[in-house]
């Protein structure tokens, strides 16, 4: 099933918004089974990168290919069966059941039977540790619970494609911003497991450097719309690159519990 080479291939990506250059020549490859974390300061172009790769924003230059086809050649409906996006701030303010919200992930797959959909919804909610919320109403949930429900919806979209499309792309923009530490770890763990077992490629924007080092195979560090570093956490999380990305002094230690992983502390001694 797997194709040779990368599921997502980004080359020399440029993007201008409001006359300002937000992305200036970013490039990377992402294979199915791999989780790539995107780190960067506020305004460094993380969300723009995700929106461009999702097909929301026109390319200002460069090339983005999904499964070997240029992004512009994809129809919106076909794209929805191969990539799922979780935007940064969900804005649902209408009164819907959790079951309905999560089930919307299957809208690109109208051929699914109600029974198949029900199974998928329950599985996704379980993966997001939100199975107890199934019969609740979305607006009555806390911010973190809502974020997990939205994550489950995106998982339904990615998992519905099983057997329909091949490898799929999962784009998550700060999926852990409202979550407690346990759920942050759970969410990234779920993403890593699904990537490995289901042939997903995941691009995840994160703010917590140590969480990213633990949960991602590789990291992309952005500063001012350009890539500062791209590689495994141990390769890219160095005091020099962190200083460039965040403008803050940082010290990097070997992780006391996870061999081979770096542990970052921000702030001068």
């Amino acid at each position: 099933m797997k194709e040779d080479g990368a599921l997502l291939s980004v080359r020399e990506l440029q993007c201008r918004r409001g006359g300002r250059e937000v992305l200036a020549g970013v490039g990377f490859d992402l294979r199915a089974g791999e989780v790539l974390g995107v780190l960067g300061a506020n305004g460094s172009g993380k969300s723009t990168l995700l929106a461009t790769v999702a097909g929301e924003l026109p390319l200002g230059g460069g090339r983005v290919a999904l499964a070997g086809r240029h992004l512009a050649e994809w129809k919106v409906e076909a794209l929805a069966r191969r990539r799922a996006l979780l935007p940064q701030s969900p804005s649902l303010s209408f009164d819907l059941d959790v079951r309905t919200v999560v089930g919307m992930g299957a809208y690109p797959f109208p051929a699914l039977s109600p029974a198949e959909l029900d199974t998928l919804v329950r599985r996704a909610l379980t993966l997001a540790d939100a199975q107890l919320l199934l019969d609740r109403r979305y607006l009555a949930l806390s911010g973190g619970e809502q974020q997990r429900v939205q994550f489950a919806r995106v998982l339904v979209q990615a998992l519905s494609a099983r057997g329909v499309a091949e490898d799929r792309l999962l784009l998550l923009d700060e999926p852990t911003s409202s979550l407690d530490p346990r759920h942050q770890l759970l969410l990234l763990g779920t993403v890593a497991t699904l990537a490995r077992d289901e042939g997903l490629a995941a691009l995840v924007v994160l703010h917590d450097v140590n969480l990213a080092a633990q949960g991602c195979d590789r990291l992309l560090l952005l500063a001012g719309g350009s890539a500062v570093a791209l590689g495994t956490p141990a390769e890219v999380l160095t005091p020099a690159s962190l200083q460039r990305v965040y403008g803050v002094a940082a010290r990097v230690f070997p992780h006391p519990l996870r061999a081979g992983l770096p542990l970052v502390l921000f702030g001068a001694a």
């Binding site: 929301e56 076909a78 935007p87 209408f94 009164d95 819907l96 607006l139």
Partner: protein, 345 residues
């Protein structure tokens, strides 16, 4: 994000009615209400005789013959008219609220209502007296106003410019209506009231013969799009990510709503508040899932306008109130109640 979401539960009512149950109840309620409305009015007909009268009249029974005539030629077309127009207006309201992701949107927001009224009123003041001229003028006004609002409002991303363009077009239409009213003579002025406040008095079987299938076709198109409307509630980025091309979807919903509401305005004038309030009435107990919201809104709109027209016919006998006064008097306080509820919780 969380500030918006954390006040949101104020909108979420505690009790919950299964939408399927509401649909069932509305289906059950409609026939008896329609029969009761058919029986009362300037000529009162015994309820028990309505069914028998429709079947036929014994020879020589002049009273029964009169009743049958009133039923067939006056009441029934009028009731059918109320059902069709109410269903169409309410359904368009629900679609606009999804499109604008705003529970306070209304079909009139994109100019379709005031544009129609302006077309009709301009035709009347410029000398037209036949409905055959006035109704097409209303239809043209309706579609032209919407098309203009859409063209000007869709040059930038998002629905906010569309909303602003609609507001501007509505302001222009209202001013033009004011100008034509100022120029109108006394006879024309009475005629204008009809367009401004709406009336179902123009109900006729020959109008229904094309209006009903028209509303049925466009209603079906809108009902089939429930997934897209649900996706819009999630957010525009989410809808796009789920495979709904936003600009195409937006254009489609606007065209369908304009084509649905335009002819209704052309034959009944502007009837306010049904499109705004009925989707709310349905959403409060059953939630916002459009799979059920749309059919419930359709039936609810039919029943609400049936009741409003019934009131308009009997409250000031032998005269008849413009229906816009009834829907406004009921809809306005309802909206205030909604706002008060939102503020107090």
């Amino acid at each position: 994000m969380s500030t918006v979401l954390q006040d949101a539960p104020a909108w979420s009512p505690q009790r919950h009615v299964a939408p399927q149950a509401l649909l069932f109840a509305l289906c059950l309620a409609l026939p008896p209400l329609a029969i009761a409305a058919a029986a009362s009015g300037a000529v009162s007909i015994p309820l028990s005789r309505v069914a028998g009268l429709l079947a036929g009249v014994p020879a020589g029974d002049d009273q029964a013959a009169l009743w049958r005539n009133v039923l067939l030629e006056v009441r029934l077309p009028r009731i059918a008219f109320a059902l069709v127009v109410g269903a169409g207006l309410a359904l368009a309201g629900a679609a606009m609220q999804a499109l604008f992701r705003n529970p306070l949107a209304d079909p009139g927001l994109i100019g379709v209502s005031l544009g129609g009224a302006l077309g009709a009123i301009a035709a009347i003041v410029l000398g037209a007296t036949a409905l055959g001229v006035i109704a097409p003028a209303a239809m043209v006004g309706s579609l032209a106003a919407t098309a203009l609002a859409y063209r000007l409002g869709s040059r930038q991303a998002g629905v906010a410019p569309l909303l602003l363009a609609g507001v501007a077009i509505n302001a222009i239409c209202a001013a033009a209506i004011g100008y034509f009213s100022f120029r109108a003579n006394d006879t024309q002025l009475r005629n204008l009231t009809f367009w401004n406040l709406g009336s179902l008095a123009g109900a006729r079987w020959d109008l229904l013969a094309w209006l009903s299938p028209w509303v049925a076709v466009l209603g079906t198109l809108l009902l089939r799009d429930w997934r897209a409307m649900n996706a819009l509630l999630l957010g525009e980025r989410e809808a796009l990510s789920l495979g709904f091309a936003l600009s195409r979807l937006r254009r489609r919903l606007i065209v369908w709503c304009a084509l649905l509401v335009g002819p209704l305005v052309a034959v009944t004038g502007t009837i306010g508040f049904v499109g705004l309030v009925v989707p709310h009435l349905v959403r409060l107990p059953t939630g916002a899932d459009h799979r059920w919201l749309l059919p419930n809104t359709l039936l609810g709109g039919a029943i609400v306008l049936l009741l409003a027209d019934w009131l308009a016919r009997i409250v000031a006998l032998p005269a008849e109130l413009p229906i816009g006064i009834v829907t406004g008097l009921a809809g306005g306080p309802f909206l205030l109640w909604l706002l008060a509820r939102r503020g107090s919780t």
